[in-house]
Amino acid sequence: MTPAFDAVLAGLLLWLAWGALRGRDLFRSIVHFIALGLLMGLAWARLRAPDIALAEMAVGAGVTGALLLVARARMEGGVAVREPAAARLLPGLVCVALFAVLAWAVLALPEGEGLRPLVAARLPESGVSNPVTAVLLNFRSYDTMLELAVLLAAAVAVFSFGKAAPFPGPPGPLLGAFPALLVPVMVLGAGYFLWRGAAHPGGAFQAGAVLGGAGVLWILLKGTASRAFMNRPLLAAGPLVFAAVGLGAAALGGRFLEYPAGWSGPLILAIEAAAALSIGAVLAVMFAGGRPRRDLP
């Protein structure tokens, strides 16, 4: 049964990707892209990577889809410009060459377990029992800290566009009350993902993606780009806490980001909490498209 399921899934992924690229109508392309993100999350789940599946569905399909739709609404006319066929040939060839190189790289991977036994051997000392969280927040924490800094830089770049344009606001009293109903549940869900990330699929990025979705919902249905959740302290909290923990560890005699023995678990939770807040704030800023306004509530 499962090879048939996988074959259907792969075929659907290719069909949706083709539909997203056809460019006949921008709206159709975006909808195909969102569906592609959803099925890509399913593909990750089939590859037994539930953390990536969660992040792909929340950010790749959800928030990116919202960003594309807002961008399209702000374009004049919303019509894609068709380039002549000759101009599209070179990018197409580059994509085919890139695909060939990636396929060769994947097929040339040596047989074996890869890094899994190494991670499993050191997992007890990492402070968590989910191997993905251990790698992200302990063994390769330096990379994650720099990723958070990149997100902060992206938010600064969006701030440079100027004040966020106001959104039209709630299209009726029913939808105006909807965020008040759903945002608390989403915040609770984000806390749930954060807490479960230590031992189950979850963690800071998934919690941050849910918080970002809550921010998008708020901006869209309340019509304001509020400074309550898009201010500089929230945006900087993730990288700041990460760097502070790293420097504190160095000050206590270890190397940079070498957690003191026995403190790994609580430190990882503290870093993940700050990171989730930052990621949610960055995603909300990207959706708002500019600096939050002082004149709106």
Binding site: P171, G172, L174, L175, F178, L181, L182, V185
Partner: protein, 101 residues
């Protein structure tokens, strides 16, 4: 024996949910205007999801069953809001509801 009965019941429920999803998709393809299509999608798909969730809850432990039920409730709320928003937008674009000729 009770295990077997629970298994059969869960499969029946999931298949019933799949049937309602099929009905919703047929409605999406065959109904004449956006309002009737919204009706087919939200009603049939939510009922289908409810049946699938019920079938899966029979196989899960208590914690998993509670999470599945919470997922269904959240999908109900969000799909109702989205259906409302799309219908309002369609009215805003002055799309007339289809009338039987």
């Amino acid at each position: 024996m009770p295990d077997r009965a629970v298994d059969v019941l869960s499969v029946v429920l999931v298949l019933g949910g799949a049937f309602f999803y099929l009905a919703g998709s047929v409605g999406l393809l065959r109904f004449p205007d956006v309002y009737t299509r919204l009706h087919a999608l939200t009603k049939a798909d939510n009922l289908g999801l409810g049946l699938v969730t019920l079938g899966l809850m029979l196989r899960a432990d208590v914690g998993g069953a509670v999470r599945l039920a919470a997922t269904w409730i959240l999908v109900l709320a969000s799909s109702a809001a989205v259906c409302h928003a799309v219908a309002r937008a369609a009215l805003g674009h002055r799309l007339e509801p289809w009338k039987r000729p």
